[in-house]
Assembly symmetry: C2
Amino acid sequence: MTITIIGIGLIGGSLAMALRKNGFGTRFVGVDSSATHRSDAIWLGLVDEILPLDDAVRKSDLIILAIPVDAAGQTLLHLLDTVENDRTVIADMGSTKSEICSLCRNHRRRGQYVASHPIAGTEFSGPKAAVENLFQGKKMIVCDPEASSPYALATLTGMYEALGMDVSFMPSEMHDRHIAFVSHISHISSFALGTTVLNIEKDEKSIFTMAGSGFSSTVRLAKSSPQTWNPIFIQNADSILLALDAYIEQLEKFRQSLKSRNSSQLEQLMTEANEIKKIIK
Amino acid sequence: MTITIIGIGLIGGSLAMALRKNGFGTRFVGVDSSATHRSDAIWLGLVDEILPLDDAVRKSDLIILAIPVDAAGQTLLHLLDTVENDRTVIADMGSTKSEICSLCRNHRRRGQYVASHPIAGTEFSGPKAAVENLFQGKKMIVCDPEASSPYALATLTGMYEALGMDVSFMPSEMHDRHIAFVSHISHISSFALGTTVLNIEKDEKSIFTMAGSGFSSTVRLAKSSPQTWNPIFIQNADSILLALDAYIEQLEKFRQSLKSRNSSQLEQLMTEANEIKKIIK
């Protein structure tokens, strides 16, 4: 089986490594718009060869889209338009699912596509950030499974399970609404915190020598790639705004309690938040 | 050397373990207001015996205060009032330093006290959360060192360095202003995020099955103890409010960019935050 990976960065590169390790695929073809990524991907042994998109498609049994979500939709349509073999299967890895599912909804080859989102990643990007075990033990959410053909669905879910992933199914709209709260808002919280402290450091030098593991943990995602996250935020803006409004509202409660030195209200706000212990181990 | 630790929780318990391991102290005495903590501390071997405060003080060459910051100030004054030996040294481990330093400023025994803050901790609390290597390789900030006697300062800095800590010195007011930005605001950011997602989960069941490592990282501190953090927030409210206002302002910029689907402004906000890469490895 020849597998083409479009976008050989953190996600695409890690997937290539994991597939090879698990004996999935005999040949890996890479497609990437960045010359540096292309040469890194070959040098790191992530793929066997680099090809232009259309040449790669003709050779492939399986095509994985692992590019920013603003490019993924149009590329998917192009793939569905040009793929000649009914058994070629296509999947994407994007963090938003409504727009891409909606774009291809009425395509005659819609069945050959599986909408997927791995709950896996790091704050790093590019082929050099790829790690073999990124997907092991993680969730893979497949959206609108009824729109995929049984063959495409079985191929992909089988593959994800072989990688040690826990596959679940969900409508694409529900995915986007929920992921705003458990992933996208975390990124905004972290980006905003990073800038807040960078700004104060301009006046208060050496402040970062006092930073510990708590700060690192909350600010880690502020290192994430704007190229990846910008189109995610734009595509899921409505749901993220709901999450962000609710978040700012909670912060305002802390602000009011601090202003009035209301110790019992502060205690209550923290005790409520402590409930997260029951959920996140 | 007999060392008394007042408050045998995460910090006090971890310190006892590290001191024993590094051959500091021949006998460890524990003081704690919680009966459960007292029996846990003995059972876990953190201390050799449990004594009432005043009995422990009489026996001790070194006394460490590792209790919530609202109790630490008055306990320190009591210790300075009752300690009989000029060579008994006292240190505290609290996350706020202005109030405690101000409280004892004019005490005739002020020199016997060293104001310390280890940049180390976890989201857990109590004696069972104690870990031997909590302080290894971490920062220890000593405040207002000129107010401590050379003997007290040498004893404590020597001890902290023996534990593998990197000791630095700072005025207590500067400490509190800076730590609001690199620690206290991270906790509020995390508490507020935890509650935001817990609230939405009441309507949108099973949302947490979609949470990944990014969410866990930003929400980890929401598990922290309200008993520890409430008095820290109250004591450092002015500086934390400055940090919180700046943080909410950054979040509002994200909110405006999302509302207007302003992609280039979003990109700029993230690129600014990415500068944190140069600082936090």
